[in-house]
Symmetry: C4
Subunit: 190 residues, 4 copies
């Protein structure tokens, strides 16, 4: 089984996730600046999630370039990742509407954490397929960035109960870390 349809389906789901988030930015009833201002936190949370979902798309794109075979386990690991990503529009909307207060920020972190864990599971499932492209193992290496992200989320979630802005700062920092596409994989492909 090759990766074409997995990529196509994942692209479809990720494209929908990244786009329907905008439906959480409800059109305000007034035409004034005062009507627009309360939407600023909603817009900011949208920007953060757009970047995160974009990062997942980019990394998924890179990952599937080195994967040559998929099996049922990989298909489900991929759906598992898409499940957690699909919750991002909900947690994004909740966080934005409540102006980045404690619980919404913590729950947002939980979806990031679970998506991060799901991505790690996907990589392992892909590596475990017999006859997998040897470039994949080489490209992933020790997955330092993945581990740093998971540890960061694990720190940020309880920290939200101290200060939700500290958690936001960590989410932004992790996004920065990933913003650059995965050089490990790019290097091997070159």
């Amino acid at each position: 089984m090759n990766t074409t349809r997995v990529e196509a389906f994942s692209d479809g789901v990720i494209a929908i996730i990244i786009t329907i988030m905008v439906l959480e930015i409800k059109v305000p009833h007034g035409e004034t600046l005062e009507a627009l201002l309360p939407l600023i936190p909603v817009l900011l949370s949208y920007v953060l999630s757009f970047v995160y979902v974009g990062i997942y798309w980019n990394n998924h794109h890179h990952l599937m370039h080195t994967v040559s075979i998929v099996n049922g386990r990989v298909l489900w690991a991929n759906l598992h990742l898409l499940f957690w990503l699909s919750l991002v529009p909900f947690t994004t909307g909740w966080m934005g509407e409540n102006h980045f207060t404690t619980l919404p920020v913590a729950i947002y972190g939980v979806t990031l954490l679970m998506a991060g864990v799901a991505y790690t599971i996907l990589i392992r499932a892909a590596l475990a397929v017999p006859g997998q492209n040897h470039k994949l193992a080489q490209a992933i290496g020790n997955d330092a960035k993945g581990n740093i992200s998971v540890v960061s989320y694990l720190t940020a979630i309880p920290l939200a109960f101290v200060s939700s802005w500290l958690s936001i700062a960590i989410y932004v920092a992790v996004a920065m870390l990933w913003f650059v596409p995965d050089r490990r994989i790019e290097k091997v492909l070159d």
Copy 2:
């Protein structure tokens, strides 16, 4: 006529179905845990439907791998399947919002039943195309799993009027049965 565009269109529709379901999880107005708790049944019904739609995508993916030719009848059998799947977000939302009470659980079972029947019709339509890949018949065999599913749904729907949790248990059991991708087809393809 080959299967490429049928797959692409089906992937698109299934990707949208699996993703817009999340729009039924309405962002709560409060920022507290109390505001979030009523969403738990909504989330649980979402998880169940996500797994079901994922199973359909997986099986569809496998099915189309053994199909080499499609005709007008197969196109419509496929649209018929997509129709019933497209109702899943509605019945999922209704079941979740009403905390798995009798009628919503029964109606949810009706959409599962009709999708199961539609899938069987799709297989038969594909088998009936003159010059079809002989691997398909071999891969499908007696379709025991499909028949078990339909009988299970037919049992679960009236059972909801006794106890909706029994019906849910049956839906979960059928999902478990299908969770493993169709080995019959995988075996033939190997």
Copy 3:
């Protein structure tokens, strides 16, 4: 310029149109049969539109099989068709919510009419591309079905002001006419 990306984009838009229509079937608040019954006209209008959009997808699929070249004019004729189809979820929802009363049924007919006209324009734009596949002209012939449809819609729209059910009967009859995929094109392709 070949047809691959036009097909992919059209498939995407049509897949979204056919699926988001279900979002117009709002989850009712009660869990009883009484809460569900008012949705029956909404569901019926959804079924009608699902079949119509399915017909357009099928015919579009067949059309693009005989088209070998597209130019800017074809791209815009295609977007024009997608524009009218994109209004179908709105007119479907309005017709269903108002239980097939006069004005919503007439306006629904207008979107069908405009989509029918747009499809004719698309065919002509495709035929006009220099060096187009000669099979296309042969496959389209005198486009009797297309003309019958347009005349039917032109009859059904004013008729809604006499009886909206007569108009609905005409819409259903036209759908029946197209239900069978375009044999003209299938014959030439064989």
Copy 4:
């Protein structure tokens, strides 16, 4: 890294953007003409945005035809363009609901401006990839149309505070300018 998956993902996102805009046209509760009339400005703003997003899809289609290689920078420049386009349904809905009054018209112009700037950045990022197809530079030339558009938006935004209809006239004029697909690129491809 080739352009196939970037095109597929962009097509997906653009297809969703162009289609979910229609969800901003809320089904009115009455069945009369009076219930429908207030939707006319909403529909007009939808038409304008449909044409704009259609133009972006057409130009993106043409652009990707001359691009042979993409790198991480191009992927992000592309996501940046999609981000601004994804805000179009929101600003379209706000402008339509408020009957083309000052602030919504100005903000709508801001999204057009930012999308225009993002498109220019995407072109530059594509040109900067080592070993890029030389046809791209040739096809883009001095990008007169892109520059005219950006200057037009920069004029239209403050002008909305004088008369929002002047701004709308400019948005329509720019759309007209782009309506014809980019001949520069078409010429080189021929």
